[in-house]
Every structure is written in C-alpha cells, then in structure tokens.
C-alpha cells in the first residue's frame, strides 16, 4: 500500500479544459489496430523495396553490376547512387536548426564511391514481393576495396589516422553540425575531426585559483539506440504529371518534403507528403532513409514502391546516438559555491559529420550559476552508423559527467546533494556558460519539490542499497507552425494542424482550442494535415510541438472567437464591442437575456455570413528551457554486480501541463530510456566495426518487469512566452537518469562507475579495482 501519491501535479493555474485528462481522440483507433502506420500503406500494383547493404565498415566501391538482378523475374527496378545527381556539399538550414550537408545526407542514403559503416546502403531493388526483392539483392555484384577501419575517437584523432572521408574539412562553428567538404584544389592534410569549437565565460584560470576544492573526472559512454518500435518506412508514388506522393512515418512531414525536394531537384509544389501514425521517433525520425530510395525505385519502375527497414537494418543503418568521452573539472569554495568549470566533450558522429556535441556543450553547465567556464566540443568521424538525434541530443552524456562530479563535490563537502544544487542553481538572469542569460525557469521549484518528496526522506533499509540524485537541463525548441479551426454546423470544430503526433499532441491541441472557445474537448476533432492541407510546420522535435502548434491553435481559436462575436453582433444588430464571449456563450453585455451558445451560433453560421474558419501561422520565440531532478534507490548485488532499481521519482517543471497524464508519460518514458542507457544498452562492435547485437534479443532494453513504477511530480512554473505557460517536456526527462543511477550505485557500493553502461561486469570490475583484486 502506498503511503504517498505516486503522481503529483503542483498546479499553478486552473482552467476548464487545460490540466484535465480527457481520453485521446486517436486512442480507440490505436488500441484496436485501425490506426494507419507506414507499413499499412498498400496501393494498387505496389512493389516492395529492399536495400543491399555493405558487409564492410569501410571500403571503396570499385564497381556495381546490377544486370543480373535487373534481369531476374519479378524485379522491376534496381537503383544505386548513380540514379541521382550528387548534390553540392553546401550546408542548408531546413528549419529549426536542422542543418543538412546534402552531399553527406545523399551519400548516407545511398553510398557513393565509399561505404563508411557496416550496413551502409549500396543499392536497392523493387520487386513484386519482399522475397523476390531479397533474392535479387544477392544477384547484385559489388566489388569492394576493403579499407582499414577506425572505430573509436582515440584512433580517429591520431596523426596519420585512417580517414573516413578524404576531403573532410574541420569546421569551427558549433552550429554547423552537418560538416564541411574541402574544395577540389585544397590539398591540405585530411582529418576525421568534423568540427571543433569552444565557449569561454569569465576568466577560467582566475576562477580555479579561487577554488578550495577541485574535482576532475573522465567519463565514457557507448552508442545506444532510441529503440522505437516501428522501423523506418516510406512509400512513394509518382503521378503522370511528374508529381510525387510520399507516405511517411516521420517527425516532420514538411521536412521530408523539403529534403526530398532538394535531393530529387523537384519543386516542393510537386511533392505531397502524407503523415502516417508514428511508432516512436525520439529524434531519429527527423531525417530520411527509406523515402528517397522508394522514390527512386518508384520512378524507375513506374509503380508505387514501399521500402521498410528490418529491425537489424534499424540498428545497423539508421542513427544511434554517439559514443562520448568527456573530461570535466569543476572548482568550488569550501562553502560549496561553484567558481569555475571546464569540460572537453568528444562525441563520435559515425560515418558522416554531425554528432550532438553542440547540445552537450549547450547543456552541461546550464543548470548552474558558474562565473568562469570553458567548453570545448569536438565532432569526430568513425566507421560506425551516422549518429542521429536522440531525445535531448547530447545532453544525457554531458549530464552524466557534470552531475556525477556534483555528487562527488557534495560528498567531499559533506553537503546534501540537493542543497548543493540549490546553492548553485541557475535562475532567471543567470548567465549561462555559452553566454546568454537564463530566462524564467523552474529549477529552484523543482529542487524544492525533490527535497520535500517523501521518497527523498524515506529511510534506505538493507545492505548494498543506495540513493542517487541528479538534475538535467534542456533548452527546448520552437519553429514555424500552422493550425486551422473549422466550425461545423453541429457545434463541433475540426482542427487541422501540422505537427506530427508523437505523444498525444492531438488531444493537447484540442484542449487548448477547447479552452479558448469554451467548448468541450470532445467537440474538437483534431487531425494532422498533409503538406497540401495545412501550412508549413516544423518538425515535432526539440520538445516544441505543444508549444509552437499550441500557439498556432490558440491564435486560430482567437480568430474563430472574433468571427463568432461578429455574427452575434449581426444577429442582435448591436456593435461588436457590446458582445462578450465567455465559457462558450455569447451574450449582450447590457441585455443579458440575449444569449447564444457556441453550438446555437454554429448552426446559424451560413445564414449569418458563411462558414466560420480560423487559421493561423506562427513562429513564436520563447520556448522556455526545462529542468528536471530525479531520485533513485538501487540495490547492487555484490556477487554479480546486478543493479535492481527499487524506487524512482522524476520531478520536472512543465510550465503548464496541458494533459498531465501525457506529461507523466513523458517523464516515465524518459526515465526508463535513461535507465536502459545507464545500465544495459550498448552497441557491441567487433574489431571490424560490425555490430554484434543488432536485435532486441541481444540489445537489452528495460521492460516493465525490470522496473518499479516511475513516480512523477509535475512542477508548474509557467513559461511567460506562451498563452497557457507551456514548456516542452519530452526531452529533459532522459537527461538526469544516467548520473542519478551512477550516484546511487556509488552510494550502494562506494565506487564510482564512470563509463556506461554500468553492466554487472563493469560494476564488478570497478569494485575489484578498488579492492586491488
């Protein structure tokens, strides 16, 4: 029996619909199997595509002979990178900081000249069914010149290292994650370092001189995968007029359209992208893999083609997050005040530039007020799959380093770890290590909630048990967004918006519209529009969807409200200023007998001037950063090193939780993914760069049987830049768990494990090393 509340909302404002927990509009379809995902697309005459992938982690492609495959019965098309133009190496900004070097992007989709990781796509076949396509792959003859592999940052950064790309140019701008290409006449030495940059604040040397205590450490983390259930899938169909329709399970169908436009040199007006339901993305479905290949095959075959990855392909050929190495040093006074901090973050990007090291640098020191700071970020190439975004990209490994150092500092000082964080926590006006001032955030409130939670004061009983605490920061994102509200004659409202629904955003948008209009959320029918049905909307990423599309919905609702007031004024023959709109009822300000409900007026819309629709396109600033603090209790088996998570509480500022159950779901999901990252998950590569555990049998993610219920506390410190105070909540919840687990394991065993995952073997090795065994 619980003696505490498992899920708490420390609410800061009361609304009618916002803050309630309605059943999601798409729920019934999803639990009954009616919802249409990418693999549910089936078109007349549709072919099935399969991709031939490199068996080598690094090799030059000397020749590709597709003739036998092309001649095979049931095969309609075979494509390679020769079937499209090679784009320039120019970096393009495709909204929301999604920079793409199209040459690298194109070469990752279909290898050109070289393969740079095992599983790299080389050619593709479209055939009548998957088996025929699979057999045809075996008929493609690829001649490789196998090259030495470079698998880790240490080897990759050595002088004379094997080069993943001979023409790579080192950039020095953290914004250019996409990497640069040397010009043909640039004969300078090659490198695997795609980007190297730094941030400085104050005087780092002087800062460390002021320190009474200095803590240093080095951490390492392995690549891990997002583990979304639904593999990447894309279907393409060309029309007779040369236009292209794509069906995609993606985090941004407009981004898919724009990328396809550039890759295929086709105007955006010729491409329509249909958004399918998405079975998880976590950042990694903001890019294209299958869609361009399906489009090339469809063009060559003259038939619609679907290309779907297998689970092994998802592991080997999509984008895990980076392996990382971080050297960190912090200095504090004997009272616990931080005076200086420096860190060198090296993130492995895989076979093409673009690790999330800028995100790591952006987040590592941001929870704290540190007057003197130095950060160096390095993006380095290795012969592994190209890294993709994963929920708060870059921040998790950074927090693993910083938050374990903070725990060591608290231990050294004999301070409570939450008190240490409260003493140093960032608040509105704190200057961040990267320069800008912190806007209003709820870190103090989050830490206070953690300190006051019954979990934190509960005694830890039993041997080999310990408690850990850690915090985390994520800046959150925003971008352009669109929404359209269409009033139906029966008083319901059709809401079309452009953000892909990853996590229940449809109901969150419906709630915001219902709140504005004073109607029931069940009377709003939300849908995600395709790229020809709604205005441009940037990716559902950066935890920005509920913020930015919520803004668009709010504005669309205001437009509906304005038109409703006009219609009531027309009916009553009074000035619009004399009509008030409150709680879904329009009434005369002076003659309160004159009333019309939303539903009554909706029925009269055509007779009073025509259909009522409200639409809005916005690009709001002020997404508002988010901070979280997690508490975890563990027991470590001293014989086996196995860690059991006994109790876990995730506390986070949500600004305003539109639908608290879905915010709680985010907190729980982020914590669980972080626990998997901390304890189990890891890409195992052999010395040839082959992933050896590319199935869910061997790549161990936590299941519900492994973990206790994750308790949550939603703290609400409203974001002043949103009409309802929303902050993004989907990412920061994965930032603290890695360090929280490490700190708890230290409390249980007395050893600090500085590399992930903290498997039983790693923990035993660390214990034995301390004991001199």
């Amino acid at each position: 029996m619980l003696d505490y509340k498992p899920n708490i909302v420390l609410s800061s404002g009361e609304y009618n619909v916002i803050g309630s927990r309605p059943i999601r509009h798409d729920g019934a379809d999803k639990v009954t199997g009616r919802a249409q995902y990418g693999v549910d697309v089936s078109l007349p005459g549709m072919l099935h595509g399969r991709i031939l992938r490199s068996p080598h982690a690094h090799a030059r492609i000397k020749s590709i002979d597709t003739s036998k495959a092309e001649a095979a019965p049931g095969v309609y098309a075979v494509v390679t990178s020769a079937d499209w133009d090679q784009p320039t190496g120019k970096v393009e900004d495709l909204a929301e900081g999604a920079m793409h070097n199209l040459r690298f992007l194109s070469n990752n989709i279909l290898a050109h000249e070289k393969v740079v990781y095992k599983g790299h796509a080389v050619a593709a076949v479209a055939a009548t069914n998957l088996h025929v396509a699979e057999q045809a792959l075996a008929l493609i003859d690829v001649e490789y010149e196998v090259l030495p592999v470079v698998l880790g940052f240490r080897d990759a950064m050595k002088d004379g290292a094997t080069l993943v790309h001979e023409r790579l140019h080192t950039l020095s701008n953290p914004g250019l994650r996409a990497g640069g290409y040397k010009s043909d006449d640039d004969k300078s030495d090659g490198t695997n370092v795609a980007n190297q940059f730094e941030f400085k604040l104050g005087d780092i040397e002087e800062g460390f001189k002021q320190a009474d205590i200095i803590i240093e450490k080095e951490t390492n983390t392995s690549p891990v995968h997002q583990g979304y259930i639904e593999p990447h899938t894309g279907t393409a169909q060309w029309q007779n007029d040369g236009s292209l329709t794509i069906w995609s399970s993606t985090q941004g169908h407009f981004n898919v359209r724009d990328l396809m436009s550039r890759l295929l040199d086709l105007p955006v007006s010729k491409i329509k992208v249909m958004p399918m339901e998405i079975g998880g993305g976590f950042g990694a479905k903001g890019i294209v893999y299958s869609e361009p290949v399906a489009a090339l095959l469809a063009k060559k075959s003259g038939k619609p083609v679907r290309v779907t990855m297998t689970r092994t392909e998802v592991f080997e050929s999509s984008g895990p997050t980076s392996g990382t190495n971080i050297k960190i040093k912090i200095g504090a006074t004997k009272d616990g005040k931080l005076v200086a901090a420096e860190a060198r973050l090296i993130y492995e990007a895989g076979g093409f530039p673009g690790s999330p090291v800028p995100g790591g640098c952006n987040c590592i020191f941001s929870p704290y007020d540190i007057p003197n700071a130095y950060l160096e970020g390095i993006d380095v190439l290795v012969n592994r799959p190209k890294a993709a975004a994963y929920r708060a990209p870059g921040a998790q490994a950074a927090a693993f380093a910083m938050e374990t150092v903070m725990d060591e500092l608290a231990e050294t000082l004999g301070m409570d770890p939450i008190e240490l964080r409260l003493l140093n926590c960032a608040k509105e006006g704190t200057r961040r290590a990267t320069g800008p001032l912190m806007p209003k955030v709820g870190f103090i409130e989050t830490l206070e909630a953690a300190k006051n939670h019954p979990h934190y004061s509960a005694p830890i009983t039993g041997p080999n048990r310990g408690r850990g605490v850690a915090s985390g920061f994520w800046g959150n994102g925003t971008g352009p967004a669109s929404a359209m509200a269409i009033v139906n004659a029966d008083g319901t409202v059709a809401l079309v918006e452009g953000s892909m629904d990853l996590s229940g955003t449809r109901v969150a948008f419906a709630q915001q519209l219902a709140e504005v209009l004073g109607i029931a959320v069940e009377d709003v029918k939300p849908t995600v529009g395709d790229t020809e049905s709604i205005g441009f909307t940037s990716n559902s990423g950066g935890s920005g969807a509920t913020f930015k599309s919520g803004w668009a919905v709010y504005e669309a609702g205001q437009e509906v409200k304005r038109q409703m007031i006009e219609r009531a004024a027309k009916i009553w023959e009074i000035p619009v200023e004399d009509v008030e709109y409150e709680g879904g009822v329009l009434q005369h300000k002076m003659d309160t007998e004159l009333k019309l409900t939303f539903r009554q007026l909706a029925a009269r819309q055509n007779a009073t001037g025509g259909p009522i629709t409200g639409s809005a396109g916005v690009n709001p600033g002020g997404a508002g950063p988010c901070l979280a603090t997690h508490i975890v209790d563990v027991e470590v088996d001293p014989e086996t090193g196995k860690v059991e998570v006994l109790r876990y509480t995730a506390i986070q500022d949500a600004g305003k939780a539109i639908h608290p159950a879905y915010v709680e779901g985010q907190l729980q999901g982020g914590a669980v993914q972080g626990i998997g990252w901390a304890l189990n998950e890891e890409y195992y590569f052999n010395d040839q760069g082959h992933m050896m555990n590319s199935s869910f049998l061997d790549y161990r993610m936590p299941t519900s049987l492994d973990l206790p219920m994750i308790d949550t506390v939603i703290v609400e410190v409203p974001n002043p830049a949103h009409p309802f105070g929303v902050r993004g909540t989907g990412e920061v919840c994965i930032v603290p768990p890695l360090a929280a687990l490490s700190n708890a394991i230290h409390a249980a065993t007395g050893v600090r494990v500085n590399q992930l995952p903290m498997t039983p073997g790693t923990i035993l090795d660390t214990i034995w090393e301390k004991e001199g065994k």
Partner: protein, 90 residues
C-alpha cells in the same frame, strides 16, 4: 547601445574582446555596424545569397533565440548573442 557578445571563434576579429557595444535597432543593423567596427565579422554571420543568417547561426536577443533572424528588433539595452542553432530530439 546594445551589447553584442562575440562568439569565441570570432574574437580574433575583435582583438580578443568578448562584448562590444554596437548601434542598431535590428539584428541586420547590428551585423552591418559590427562589420564596420570589426571587418570580417559579417561574413561569419550573414549569408548574402539567401539574405539570412548563415545556416547554423542563431541570434539570441535578450535570452531568446529569435525566430525572425535579421528582422528581429533590438532595444537600446538589449543583449545580442550569435550562437549555434541547436536542434532537438523527441
């Protein structure tokens, strides 16, 4: 005048100075006037082909990443940073 924080990588163009005061009421004017004071800075921030900030550069005005880029208003007491545009995940 607004305070403009110079990215570390560009501080060699400002003689190592991290914060400079630059006249201007929009981000565009700030960049143009910064170029007058410290030649070479504009090419690190501005894409003349697209008439936009360079890909990967975000302008932060008073703590917020501006969504208007060059068109963003800047007040007399504003603080302007040019930092990487960092994308998100879920």
């Amino acid at each position: 005048m607004p305070d403009v924080w110079i990215p570390t990588i560009m501080q060699k163009l400002t003689g190592g100075i991290q914060v400079v005061q630059v006249e201007g009421s929009t981000v565009r004017q700030i960049i143009n006037n910064l170029e007058v004071l410290y030649p070479g800075t504009k090419a690190r921030l501005y894409d003349p082909e697209e008439d936009e900030l360079l890909p990967g550069v975000a302008a932060i005005v008073d703590g917020d990443v501006t969504q208007l880029g060059l068109l963003e208003k800047v007040n007399e007491d504003s603080e302007v940073h040019f930092l990487p545009a960092i994308g998100g995940g879920s």
